[in-house]
């Protein structure tokens, strides 16, 4: 695909169980993110959506057994790269935001210290004062009201929403080509998550960053992304434009949609998902 930003072709990930049998977690997943596109990956816990995102960054756990026909970023073959060169892509051309800033920020460094580390890694060569200004400007860009104070704060002194803004400031201010956001708002309150999403929306639009948005919240993904891939049992069972997700045809996607309690006219009993074992093995519908 000519306008492809990132491509995953035939990704398999498996883990060895206690008795040495390989348990597949991702099975033959192929996905493409176009330039500036927002791709949502939805599915239940254990459907393989986070592993798919991590494989692109080269951040799979060391015990994972994986293979792929191809992984590409802007046409560049990631599988052929030396590990060191590939690691250098992380935080510069590709970055990731995780679910809970409490665990993804370093607890013993101030915000400014860890942002300085990130910027230096991204190749910024500036004096202390200029770097400080850059950090404060990055915090201001994610609408943090008192950036000087937040810069000197430790992560435990920040609220969840504030911590997630700091993460976005760190990850997006270098203008990465691809951002992987793994459940970036599921540890946050409804209203705070709307604010964080607005910041994310603005930042990726400004830098024309491609986004992979991993979430189990279908209504949220429908409203935030351009295109959605639905994963079940390590496979992509359906891909469609986000606005068409309400008309999704796969019974799994339909089941997930209908399990959300509607605010108006809720049924007496919510429809629950009847899992059909055939879904695990059917060809990838696209």
């Amino acid at each position: 695909m000519p306008d492809a930003l990132a491509e995953i072709d035939g990704l398999d990930v498996a883990f060895a169980s206690h008795d040495g049998v390989l348990m597949p977690a991702v099975r033959g997943v192929s996905l493409t993110v176009r330039r500036g596109e927002r791709l949502g990956i939805v599915g239940e816990s254990g459907s393989g959506k986070s592993l798919t995102g991590r494989a692109l960054l080269g951040l799979l756990p060391p015990e994972a057994k994986w293979s792929a026909k191809a992984l590409r970023l802007e046409g560049q073959d990631l599988l052929a790269m030396r590990p060191k060169a590939r690691r250098r892509l992380c935080g510069t051309r590709m970055s990731m935001i995780l679910q809970d800033p409490k665990f993804s920020l370093n607890p013993v460094m101030t915000v400014a210290q860890q942002m300085r580390e990130t910027f230096v890694r991204q190749g910024v060569k500036e004096g202390r004062r200029a770097l400080r200004e850059r950090i404060v400007a990055a915090l201001e860009a994610v609408h943090i009201r008192d950036p000087q104070r937040v810069a000197d704060a430790y992560p435990h002194e920040l609220s969840g929403g504030m911590g997630q803004r700091v993460m976005i400031a760190m990850m997006v201010s270098a203008g990465p080509r691809l951002l992987i956001a793994d459940e970036p708002t599921s540890a946050l309150d409804v209203l705070v998550s709307m604010q964080v999403l607005a910041v994310l929306d603005e930042m990726i639009a400004r830098h024309d960053t491609g986004l992979v948005f991993i979430s189990h919240d279908l209504p949220l993904v429908m409203s935030f992304c351009d295109r959605v891939a639905v994963m079940y049992g390590g496979r992509v069972v359906e891909t469609c434009a986000a606005r068409d997700l309400v008309h999704a045809t796969h019974p799994y996607t339909r089941g997930l949609l209908e399990a959300n309690p509607p605010l108006v006219n809720p049924p007496d009993e919510l429809p629950t998902l009847r899992r059909d074992p055939a879904w695990l093995d059917e060809g990838i519908a696209r």
Binding site: E44, S45, G160, D189, V190, L191, V192, M194, Q195, L197, A198, D201, H216, D217, L218, P219, L220, M222, S223, F224, G255, L256, A259, N260, P261, P262, L263, V264, N265, P266, E269, L270, P271, T272, L273
Partner: protein, 243 residues
């Protein structure tokens, strides 16, 4: 059934104190399901803990039909991973509240409680790590129900679960309410979940109740407080305007 009058819950901090719940008054009728909604830090969980007798009141009065902390009032927590003892089998988890309250006929009651929450007898001797999140939450509910309480306090019982599992747990809670005529208080930040189970809801912010309304008013968006309106808007997903 439950009456809260001008409740005040105050915590000491390094630099003085913080009032987590301020001047909260509400009534919940027998057999009613009442929702508490609000953001983190709004005091909704603290109020629920006070009802369970886990947090002392600093002022005001709570009457719950019986002594708080008795077997009549049981609680289900948000995180089914943290709420079950990792080295207790399901059987032991369910046996303990029976022993504490001096209730006999344990084996029959344990099997009945498991059946009631939709778990077969095969689950009886499993450990929590051998159960899924939804199954653990079912065990938590069984543990609360086994002492036959009149009031069930639910602190975000589905927010750690997948939406498909959430639907199963919500259906279970609705059936239990109908069959057992339980009085329930449900804490959630999801208005759609509240709307499915509750008849009335109180919206909390900064330790205070800003609005109390019937669930029909929520559904028809007939709300007066700006904060409630924003919560309602957020149920529709992300739009550039509602952020």
């Amino acid at each position: 059934m439950i009456e809260i009058e001008r409740a005040l819950i105050r915590f000491k901090t390094k630099s003085g104190h913080v009032d987590a719940v301020r001047d909260v008054s509400l009534r919940v009728e027998e057999g009613e399901v009442f929702g508490l909604v609000g953001e983190s830090g709004s005091g909704k969980s603290t109020l629920l803990r006070a009802l369970a007798g886990l947090t002392p009141l600093s002022g005001g009065r709570i009457s719950i039909g019986s002594r708080p902390g008795s077997r009549d009032v049981q609680m289900v927590f948000q995180d089914p991973y943290g709420a079950l003892h990792p080295r207790f089998t399901v059987d032991k988890t369910l046996r303990e509240p029976l022993a504490i309250n001096g209730i006999g006929d344990e084996d029959t009651r344990i099997l009945a409680a498991l059946a009631e929450v939709g778990l077969g007898p095969a689950y009886r001797f499993r450990y929590p790590h051998q159960l899924s999140g939804g199954q653990r939450q079912r065990v938590s509910i069984a543990r609360a129900l086994i002492v036959e309480p009149r009031v069930l306090l639910l602190d975000e019982p589905t927010s750690a679960l997948d939406v498909s599992v959430q639907a199963e747990i919500l259906n279970l809670l609705r059936r239990l309410h109908r069959e057992r005529k339980l009085t329930m208080i449900l804490v959630s930040h999801n208005l759609a979940v509240i709307g499915f189970l509750c008849q009335r809801v109180a919206v909390m912010r900064n330790g205070e109740i800003v609005e109390q309304l019937g669930v029909d008013a929520v559904r028809s968006r007939d709300v007066t407080h700006e904060y409630t309106r924003r919560l309602l808007l957020a149920t529709e997903g992300y739009t550039r305007q509602n952020a």
